[in-house]
């Protein structure tokens, strides 16, 4: 888990307050669920290194506050995100209705290649569902988003959603759609400034 990664992808998580953004992040980075997660103040952040196509990729994830009063603040963090997870709560229809506004922000403030994933969270409470999978699916399709339902509580699909987004980003790099070296890509190619050790050659004569 050292610095041995080739890329860094910047993610943002957006969506109404209480939809479980912070819980998703925690589930992804710590494999833990927090029952009484306090409202996020401003923006918090977490990282985790994943592996895609034998490449180590570090996800640098910015978890924003959903409360309206932080909206102005959180908007400053969209810049240069390679992936955006847009979360709503499947048991609260209201949070689904607000997606349009979140999506507008995401489109306006990120770049055209930013992968936006729609996440319907709290899948463990499916019996209290107020938004059907089909309806959300249609919304995602109409807006060109990937869609997935998750539960930050059980962890179902949490890992998948983060990794699938990263896979899409990686495919864009591979296919040349996305230039990882460009500024707004939200990707950083890590380099090592210090030449590799000459240990072999050295230890050869010391024995």
């Amino acid at each position: 888990m050292s610095g041995a990664h080739e890329y860094i992808f910047k993610y943002i998580i957006i969506g109404d307050m209480g939809v479980g953004k912070s819980c998703l992040l925690h589930q992804f980075t710590d494999q833990k669920f927090m029952t009484d997660c306090p409202h996020t103040i401003g923006v918090e952040f977490g990282t985790r290194v994943i592996e895609i196509a034998n490449k180590h990729i570090k996800l640098q994830i910015w978890d924003t506050a959903g409360q309206e009063r932080f909206r102005a603040v959180t908007r400053s963090y969209y810049r240069g995100a390679a992936g955006a997870l847009m979360v709503y709560d499947i048991t609260r229809r209201q949070t689904f209705h607000h997606l349009a506004s979140w999506l507008t922000d995401a489109r306006n403030l990120t770049n055209p290649h930013t992968i936006i994933m729609l996440i319907g969270n709290k899948l463990d409470l499916a019996e209290q569902r107020e938004v059907s999978f089909e309806e959300a699916s249609r919304f995602a399709q109409e807006n060109g988003l990937i869609y997935m339902e998750t539960s930050a509580k059980t962890g179902e699909n949490v890992e998948r959603s983060f990794i699938e987004t990263a896979t899409k980003i990686y495919q864009n790099i591979e296919s040349g759609v996305l230039d990882p070296n460009s500024v707004e890509s939200g990707i950083q190619v890590t380099t090592t400034l210090i030449e590799p050790a000459r240990e072999q050659q050295q230890s050869g004569c010391s024995c």
């Binding site: 050292s2 610095g3 041995a4 990664h5 860094i8 103040i41 401003g42 923006v43 952040f45 990282t47 570090k58 640098q60 910015w62 309206e68 009063r69 102005a72 603040v73 908007r75 400053s76 963090y77 810049r79 403030l109 770049n111 230039d179 070296n181 460009s182 500024v183 707004e184 890509s185 990707i187 950083q188 190619v189 890590t190 380099t191 090592t192 400034l193 210090i194 590799p196 050790a197 000459r198 240990e199 050295q202 230890s203 004569c205 010391s206 024995c207």
Partner: protein
Amino acid sequence: MVNQRNQRPLLTLDTKQKINENGGGSSPSTTAPQNSIITRKVHQVVSISSSLAENDSLRNALQYLGTFYGENTVDERRNLRGVLESKTLDTHKELLREFTKVNERLELLDNVVGDLSKACSLIDEQMRQHESVTKSFLVQYNNTQQKLSDSQHRQKLISTFLTQFQLTDAERDALLYHPITQTFFRTLNKVHDIKNACTDMLRTHQQKSGLEIMEEMSGYQDTAYERLSRWTQEKCRLLSSDVYQDSYADEHDEHLYGHLLVEQELKNALNALSGRPVLLRCCLKEIVSARKTALVSKFFDALHGGRRRPIEMAAHDPVRYIGDILAWIHQSAASERELVDSLLSNDESEPGTPTSSSSSSLQSYSFGVLDETFQVLNAHLKDKIDQILNGERVDMIVYFRLGHLMELYRFTIGKLLGMNSSLPCYLSELRSMVDHCFYDVLQKQQVVVSLTLNLKPPNDMVDLMHKLTDILNTLNQSMVPQESREQEFSNIISAVVDPILSNLSSTITSQENISDMYVFIVNCHALLHNTLSPYDFATKKSEVVMAETDKIMEQFISFQSDQLLTNVGIKQILDLIKNNQKPLSAVDGLKPEQMSLFMQSLYVHLFSTSTLLLSPQQQCDKISSTRLKVYSKNRITTALSDAYAQVYACIQDLENQYDNAKEIAFRTPQQVKILLE
């Protein structure tokens, strides 16, 4: 005896045949004597034949006999003994000859053995002589052997000692001359261990060599640490190299700096150097200066760089602009922290990492490094703030929002860099600067609240209240804790609301237009109250305003009621009633005919809704609050109907001796009340 045996088998065969041929046919009684001989013979033969089978020598003898014994004739049988004896004789002669030869040889041998024996005793003699000589050599040999094994043992000890207390040539070279690699760190570790071992040695009788080795090792260490420090400083300088990358690549930049793969050796180097705080600090200084360079370059790149959306694009919107800058700093702080943490951490599992005890102390430097690094942004941040403060006049709400933005980021960035580190502290300094501007402007917002024609709050005040609403919204949404929010609120109130309140209460001094004054004040209060009441931190203040309003309302109502009762003349009647004795019909001014006239004119007023009655109503209508409007109207009507009820009761009172009471006051108070409502 040999002969006998040789003959018998021939007979035996015949006899056997005979027995078989005869079978049981011959009678036993007639052949009895013959039979017994035969039986004996048979037994003999059988025993011989059986012994023949077992006895090899007998068989050999018989075979030998077969070589010269021809036909089995009587002559032959008679001569057999002679033949055998002559053969035996020949054999003996032969033996004799041979033994004579043997004897000769033995005599010869005896001579030789005698010679040998003589020689042997000679040798023996000589041996005995030599042994005494050799004995001393043997002793010498044994001694030498012992010494050899002792030496070997010592050699082993010494070589063990040397490997444990000295460096090999290769190690020394790695430590002092070769480029820095894992071997260097291993050797440095070894030197450290040797020194430790020497400390143990000082407790034994080997103090002198302990001290010598220790000195030698210290020498190595000093040189090695010097070298390592120079090497590390060089490597640390490279940590700013993304600057160069920027200079040639417009489109190729991005935050490479935050994510350098920190070479294990640099980590090891810093870890090793934590044993030499002075040298370590030099290296940390290099890191700080390198990261400062990198950070500033990135900062300007984010502001102006080849981005699609450089932050500078928002410069026209100060809150957004500063917000973007602070968000950028926050994100950089996160990256920078990761870099510094990975530099100043010790992976214990890695080989060649010196003294693990140093790792925790190494980590303790990371806050300091970050703190110093981010200090470089303070001045730039101040520039940006100054730019706003000295630029075109901005709305005071901008100052207020900026202040709260800084408070939010003081907290957010403080979580990464440490609350007491320089940048967060500087943010709170900047905040007080901005707050200062805010209160400066706020204080200048003073409006002179003077009576308006429509009795509504003056436009200046309405504007100010809009601004106040903006401010209170920002305050309400800010993340500052409740008590500091209340503090801030009370500052704002004393700057804005309190002057208005005192201004208002001072306007009531003149008696001119007093009724308008009351309405105006009530209306201004209502505006204040409406502005404050939505915020829970303003509850107390809005209650104060409310109480003040109630007081003014009471004054207004009593003034209006008084006016009304005076205008319709009922007040004077009530005064006379109060001040005189019964029967009142005798009192001048309350005489039945006077009362009758008064009541008639009162009824006209009441039923024709004259201006006398309407004017207080109209005054009430100028109250903007519907609740207060209705309330005041009700109170005034009630005052009138109450007064009427008193006069009516007085007329109806028999003791007052109005004869035609029913005619003077023919409307019941109830009727009047309904009418007024």
